[in-house]
Symmetry: C2
Subunit: 473 residues, 2 copies
């Protein structure tokens, strides 16, 4: 028993197992990259009805709710603030429902089910939900963030694959709203579910989603390609889409420093360029085909090889055709390699693809001039204009890491991204406490006014989620 | 000169050429299928600034504005009511801007540019905007309707391909808002542009859009397939997506009556089934590939033929492999054939694909029992769950056409679609005066409440567009 009657009321709604206090809360209080706070309690309802009751009670008491999925987000949007007064509403136990409609190529799942668990369920049907991420987020969290991932250019983001959403509203408190349907065509006015996509939990608690799912690939082709020049990078992307657009699924750019970070600090990796020096830039290209070779006669790796040969010298300087897992291991080892170099300062930005290489030059010049102690370790999803433009503060740098310098760097880099290149300061990670200041700076007054109207309508007390999109300050 | 000072103020904003009165208004007053009214005038601004001034003036005067693109919509959403007090705001002259970013695979166009004109501009770059429709709508109208078309299963609808939107707001009057960006990844809070997609002009005047465009197909494969049974239709669809998903672009179902309507009334058509009887149901299947056969070695028609052979008897009873244009001519002649049989009563509905054939049986049984004088002539985009479930009142029927019977039919059919099958009463045509009563009936109270809040925020006097999504009555 707890002396706080509010806690006891919550416990009565969800049972002992549904309530965490004290040290049991720890995994729910700190984010995967940013965000660390305190909470009054963590509540883990196991049914939609329990979520409704929890919301009702918190609205009655005017208590701020922090909806949390698998807590894998990278901008501090799913962890409480330092006040200790907020309640973390973990959806992790809400995962009992999973209804696959194979003929409709759709699935309806509870918000707490994770991506990998969902894909396990889909696997026997030859289907998958193809948002490809390093982490294993919950479906509700993926909707609230609108996650993208490495195969966005082929499958789109969560928004593109979302058919319907069940949301527990704050007003009327605890009302369960169903928006959308298991239909691909339904043009009957506002698509209300859009109001809950990518808004970091603002407006209501996502409890269930209906998703479009896709046939699993049967073959893939991979190559690590060194473009013939800086200009050749985007020209190669254009050629791939024009000539192999049916299959094109990933185009992951990596700078020399990013590749060296991986090779030097992740001993299990083999450097396929050795003994030659690591090139200035390389692209991991992947094609996928879900079709049956029995009918198509397609040999995808051969197809990719023929394409690369045809563009040798003009667009392609070198290409490594190797084991798929091995090539992707390089891409996936960059983050770890960078971390071992020092302290990473992460940027998840995007620009129009046509300006990607210009952006890299401009950002690199700024960093070299103003932050010479830092090492740029950039890599990303060039095909969708996204780039993780990370910088490392080396462990052995002459100047010690300090927050003010990092704040100056963030201001300077986002100014280049947004003001000079028409890009985004958060390409795929969403908006949370970590970047809310830039939301305030770069969101139009009109946008904030509309967000304010939505907040007044959906959550008049401002109780749901960690961000206020009407202000952002 | 006109004696109405308001008209003269409008004329001063747009010039003589931008203002239509009297008989000159005629093409703007009647919709392509439904909707016929009167207007105070038709105003045709030629620039975004002119649109802003017109909106400002109409807001000041409290005059209702009917935004109109190419006026090709099918639900009466782009024509004025009978009052004669509304102003038709035609965007047809706003088409000067067309900026193609080939490397970004995007295009920014004024709202009045039409689909075919846009595709002409894209053609030299090997690109297209692949929303495939019978009509030639304006881009602004396509956004306001969220059009889909026959290739939705491959490319998605307009919403899926919309990157940014410029909208002239009613409040503050004439404010130009820019929502979104030429980015594929931009997760920075609300995606405000969604508030203007598929809402029939509610909330603001769409003046410019940035669209994602796609590589044009280089080869296609077509077959007119007779499924082995009713159950085989959806099984065939599943097999196609599983085995040829990279290329699958259309799966157009046609009933025997639909095909007969075309063969009997459109003399230029050849009946490929003759002398055998027309089958109960057939599907026009299309595959498309944008890839270069030089690299893939793919022969798409061969691929489709092999697939069909492999499924002969189990799923496929018969297949006509013929000239692509000729096979599509059958599909495109149904509407004309039906019109020559009598008076069509059109239904643009959708259901989950898994329930499509059950829906057809249920709807057919209802029609036979309650409306025996009518002939069902149904066809549609089975792969996305859409079906044009049209009924014909034959010219030679014993009972004469009457509106009350048609109203009863609409109630009965939509009840089956929405209440029994979880479907939509407007799959792709949107919401307009023609079906607003069903919007009122089938939209949740929560949805209407949110729509009302948006209306209060974006258009407090309720001046923009022909529908009130907060009420719908």
């Amino acid at each position: 028993m707890n002396s706080d009657p509010f806690i006891e009321e919550l416990r009565a709604l969800v049972g002992d197992h549904g309530l965490l206090l004290g040290d049991d809360m720890t995994p729910h209080l700190t984010g995967a990259r940013y965000g660390a706070g305190r909470a009054r309690c963590v509540i883990r309802p196991a049914s939609i009805d329990e979520v409704r009751e929890v919301v009702k009670l918190c609205v009655r008491e005017g208590v701020r709710l922090v909806p949390q999925g698998a807590n894998t987000g990278l901008v501090g949007a799913s962890t409480p603030d330092a006040s200790g007064g907020q309640v973390v509403l973990s959806l992790s136990r809400l995962r009992g429902h999973c209804e696959i409609d194979v003929a409709n190529r759709s699935v309806t799942v509870d918000a707490g089910m994770t991506l990998w668990a969902l894909n396990e369920r889909l696997e026997p049907h030859g289907l998958w939900f193809p948002i490809d991420l390093g982490a294993d987020p919950s479906i509700g969290g993926m909707v609230a963030t609108n996650t993208g991932g490495t195969r966005l250019v082929r499958y789109g983001d969560v928004r593109h694959n979302l058919m319907a959403l069940d949301v527990v509203l704050l007003d009327p408190p605890g009302e369960l709203a169903h928006f959308g349907s298991a239909l691909r065509k339904d043009n009957t006015g506002y698509d209300f579910k859009q109001l809950f996509v990518g808004t970091a939990g603002a407006g209501g608690v996502i409890v269930r989603a209906t998703l479009e799912v896709h046939p699993k690939p049967r073959q893939s082709a991979t190559a690590l390609v060194v473009p013939a020049s800086d200009e050749a990078v985007i020209a190669l992307l254009e050629a791939l889409e024009r000539d192999l657009g049916d299959f094109f699924s990933a185009f992951e750019g990596m700078s020399a420093t990013a590749m060296r970070a991986a090779f030097e600090h992740v001993p299990s990796l083999r450097n396929p360029f050795a003994p030659e020096p690591v090139p200035d830039f390389a692209v991991l290209i992947e094609l996928e085909s879900s079709s049956s070779p029995q009918y198509t006669g397609l040999e995808l790796q051969e197809t990719l090889n023929r394409f690369l040969e045809a563009h040798f010298d003009t667009l392609v300087a070198n290409a490594v055709i190797g084991d798929r897992e091995e090539l992707w291991a390089l891409r996936h080892s960059i983050t770890e390699g960078a971390r071992r170099m020092g302290r990473p300062i992460a940027f998840d930005v995007s620009v129009p693809r046509s300006r990607m290489m210009d952006f890299r030059r401009a950002a690199g010049a700024m960093a070299a001039a103003r932050f010479p102690q830092l090492v740029v370790v950039d890599f990303g999803h060039i095909a969708d204009g996204g780039i993780h433009y990370n910088l490392i503060w080396p462990a052995d740098a002459a100047v010690a890491y300090d927050d003010a310098t990092v704040a100056g760097l963030r201001d300077a880099l986002y100014a280049i991204v947004v003001e000079d290149f028409g890009g985004s300061y958060s390409a795929e990670h969403g908006v949370g406490a970590h970047n809310l200041g830039y939301y305030a700076k770069y969101t139009s007054a009109t946008g904030k006014r509309i967000a304010g109207g939505l907040r007044a309508m959906l959550d008049p007390q401002g109780l749901c989620g960690t961000v206020d999109l009407s202000a952002g300050g």
